[in-house]
Symmetry: C2
């Protein structure tokens, strides 16, 4: 299959490109290096340097003999994306090309406008690109579990049958998110659903939880092929951040009461989910939604796990609650369905102590590079 | 009160400005003439010329002795809106400043991108402007009944209590719209709700139905103060369009089966609704939603009404069904609550035969100006 990876330089984009290339697909990456530029702007950097796409593509060819193509350009520029779509005509595309950080989206007006503009224009142009140049292309879009917020009823998988005054109808599950970043993902879902109905585009929208881990099937043993490991409060995901804090001997910073509960998954499961979604595409006119996570943890639960495994490995780990910079429920119900991807064949890599120890060991190799000034950036929601 | 009218050049913006000025408020208008430019781009024009804001403000002063200020500028330009907010510090603002036409939003990629960009950036900048320069300002935002679509259950007023597996929670009523324009209004609602929760801004979001009529309390007898009367398929609302078609001896063009049902209101009721909303502001942190219409009609029902009244006035009126250019249900349930504004004191101007005849008479004065080429523009949803 010809597969286009939008945002293919990113934390998940690059591992996905390698994974699908290894599986025998013809892979074209597009990226505008937005994440790299925003990290520079905010003076944060990953734990170790990540080569640019030109170099990574070259390394990939040297190691595997397989070829991935990469083009640098901005998806909000129609002349760029239309030429890509017209030239490549993908069978499927994976759309990761969004400003990925909730805290960044709440930083100031400039960052909010960039998030809104980048994320929605990319999605609109992807939809038009498919419509005009590759109408059979299956759009695999990365959404977020954060679209649902933390409701007092069970979270279902994308849709909800509602009974009201003796009548029923089926709707997109009511969404309300806790940051502008998450809200742009709700907007993406609304837009994809509109055009699925009107133009019969085929869409899989993956409501993904926070991802942890770094090593995948393809990059194991090749550190230059590792993804960004951000451990700052802006671009770092919580478990990866806790691990780096534990290794640095810095207290694990829990926001507020720490009862915030989310669905998590290992980076390897992300790759498998994407591959499963591509293998069984959505039908024309279908907006298929999966909740993409394997286990739920509270922030306290994660901190305890890292502390316990870290201490077994000889680290001195403390946990410290700090004032919550976000506006969010710190103690809430969280029961969320996630059977769709299991039904397609997903075999979860759950967070065992050994897997956690593997990630900790990996980070320990870079202990000297950790800059504790990056952990907290003091981005307040209000 | 100091009231800012965003989009104050528009079909409803200008009448609102006059109405609130007459009521004794200090009114500042902002507009970038987008609607005028888009009409020019699409080669459609209102039934009679509408003077620019400078001239209208001058006329208003001559007639009433009251002063309305107008500034021309683009709300997606932060330096402009921030200087306006900082200088004026409104007590309330009415946000009409959006690309207003569903068919335009479905025209092509350029028009879709403009709609998305204009509408969402205006709303984001309004929110930031309030946050930074006028935190107590009450935002009165024009949404649309089209946000709800045509569900199989009753449409409630903005919110829905949902019971699911024995538990309940209250959500924004699930929304799914039929065009990108309507979808941007859903996105606006999502964004306003986010910042109402996070920053405690005060918002009234008015889910308005299609408006008909032209004469208001303030412009009666002063034709230069009338609003745009577009009768083309892009910018004209359905009842106004039918009336112009009837006067021109052109068949009333009903899309498809004509069972499409919506909630309508007289332009005078729009003005009263806005005034009522301003008089009783939303609380800090509240997103208050009203369904703003007074009666429901099907398209067939409206066509029959225009035909019947028109024939009594000696017009020869035909009704003709044409292939529906939109993707929409043509025969559906439509039961929508609309008690919030009645509770605040709204006294509806229902569509009596006499009121309809008044509008028809007004249009007859301009019969010679009607250009039948404007009725159909062949903008297809798919």
């Amino acid at each position: 299959m010809k597969i286009l990876i939008l945002g293919g330089d990113g934390f998940l984009g690059w591992p996905t490109a390698m994974h699908l290339s290894q599986a025998g697909h013809e892979v074209l990456i597009v990226d505008n290096y937005l994440r790299r530029r925003l990290c520079l702007e905010q003076s944060v950097s990953p734990l170790f340097p990540v080569p640019d796409l030109g170099r990574r593509v070259q390394l990939w060819r040297e190691i595997t003999g397989l070829s991935i193509e990469a083009r640098i350009g901005d998806l909000s520029d129609w002349s760029f994306i239309s030429s890509v779509m017209q030239g490549f005509v993908p069978d499927a595309l994976v759309h990761y090309a969004e400003q990925p950080a909730a805290p960044y989206s709440m930083l100031n007006r400039h960052a909010a406008a960039l998030t809104l503009q980048n994320n929605l224009m990319a999605t609109l142009n992807v939809i038009y690109g498919v419509r005009e140049f590759a109408p059979a292309c299956h759009i695999v879009k990365l959404g977020t579990m954060g679209e649902y917020g933390t409701p007092n009823i069970d979270i279902e998988e994308g849709w909800l049958e509602i009974e009201h005054k003796g009548r029923t109808d089926k709707f997109l599950y009511p969404r309300q998110a806790g940051s502008l970043y998450h809200t742009t993902k709700i907007m993406d879902t609304d837009m994809l659903w509109l055009y699925a109905r009107v133009w019969k585009i085929r869409v899989t929208d993956l409501m993904q939880g926070p991802v942890y881990g770094l090593e995948t099937y393809e990059n194991a043993g090749h550190e230059e092929l590792y993804s960004f490991l951000n451990y700052d409060e802006i671009f770092g995901t919580v478990l990866n951040r806790f691990i780096v804090q534990a290794v640095a001997g810095y207290p694990l910073t829990v926001y507020g009461a720490g009862g915030q509960t989310r669905g998590f998954l290992n980076i390897k499961d992300t790759l498998n989910c994407i591959e499963l979604a591509i293998r069984t595409p959505a039908e024309p006119g279908q907006l298929r939604i999966f909740n993409q996570f394997t286990e739920t943890f509270s922030v306290n639960g994660l901190a305890d796990k890292v502390a316990s495994v870290g201490r077994q490995m000889g680290l001195s780990v403390e946990i410290k609650s700090i004032a919550n910079p976000r506006k969010e429920a710190e103690d809430h119900r969280y029961i969320a369905a996630h059977t769709g991807l299991l039904d397609l064949g997903l075999e979860p890599h759950v967070l065992t102590d050994e897997r956690l120890a593997d990630i900790i060991r990996l980070v320990m190799r870079y202990k000297d590079r950790i800059d504790p000034n990056q952990f907290l950036r003091n981005i307040k929601w209000a």
